[in-house]
């Protein structure tokens, strides 16, 4: 089956702005409606269509976590979020992907998870300030993942 005909959204599409990939994993920045609540939302996505974290062997999990930690560190260094949220859910798209989300104490959902109802209106000025730093954050992630291990 060609990728274009795949029934799984993450087999078919990158799932965001593609920043980096190797044969087994890719890192994207989310571009969909979800970023209205959390502007700096990244994903570490398996190339293979595997559903559960425990389906991976230890080496693959260690590799994925090294990528997740690299993304988290870049978020912390460039955006200084209040907290970073990590999650592998996959109920709608059971294709392993880690959400790595910068949270800010002023964001619409904080301190609730981004999936909970918003607690306040978005703050356009603060959102714009984060948006203005995203290219720098993206570049930090690309540089960190492209550096010789």
């Amino acid at each position: 089956m060609s990728a274009a005909a795949a029934p799984c959204a993450l087999c078919r599409d990158d799932g965001g702005l593609l920043l980096w990939r190797d044969g087994a994993w890719r890192v994207v920045r989310a571009l969909g409606a979800e970023v209205a609540g959390a502007p700096a939302w990244y994903r570490v996505i398996a190339s293979a269509h595997v559903a559960e974290w425990s389906d991976l062997d230890e080496a693959a999990r260690a590799r994925a976590m090294a990528l997740v930690v690299t993304v988290e560190r870049c978020l912390r260094q460039t955006l200084a979020p209040t907290k970073v949220n990590l999650a592998a859910l996959g109920n709608l798209v059971p294709h392993l992907h880690w959400h790595v989300i910068a949270r800010f104490d002023w964001d619409p959902h904080f301190p609730a998870p981004v999936w909970a109802p918003p607690q306040r209106a978005a703050d356009p000025e603060r959102l714009a300030a984060v948006h203005a730093e995203l290219a720098r954050c993206d570049a930090a992630i690309v540089a960190a993942l492209s550096a010789p291990g």
Copy 2:
């Protein structure tokens, strides 16, 4: 400061039914209001008050993920959930803890995250059937974590 006086809920209390602990980590089953939406909800909790995943060194992260994977496998083997959800959020309690949650396609929030508004009423018979298996799931986790490495 004594544990009883700690300002952090996860420094002060176990955070659920304590199943297993060593010097660095503990595993609990959630007992609070959250289990109305997801009856088989476990947590892997750091003993130390550390906020972010990337604050841990690689060995500590590997150890935590081994515990998370063991819990996930026990959930899959004893409860056959539709999906397992993993998350480290910590916005309210910035003390590192991994949620390991069995999700069922009939549960109130599925396929949305457990933190999203419910999509349907709880199904008392199916919930009771999961509740009836929790002791077996707890025991499987205790046995797996207590087995000689």
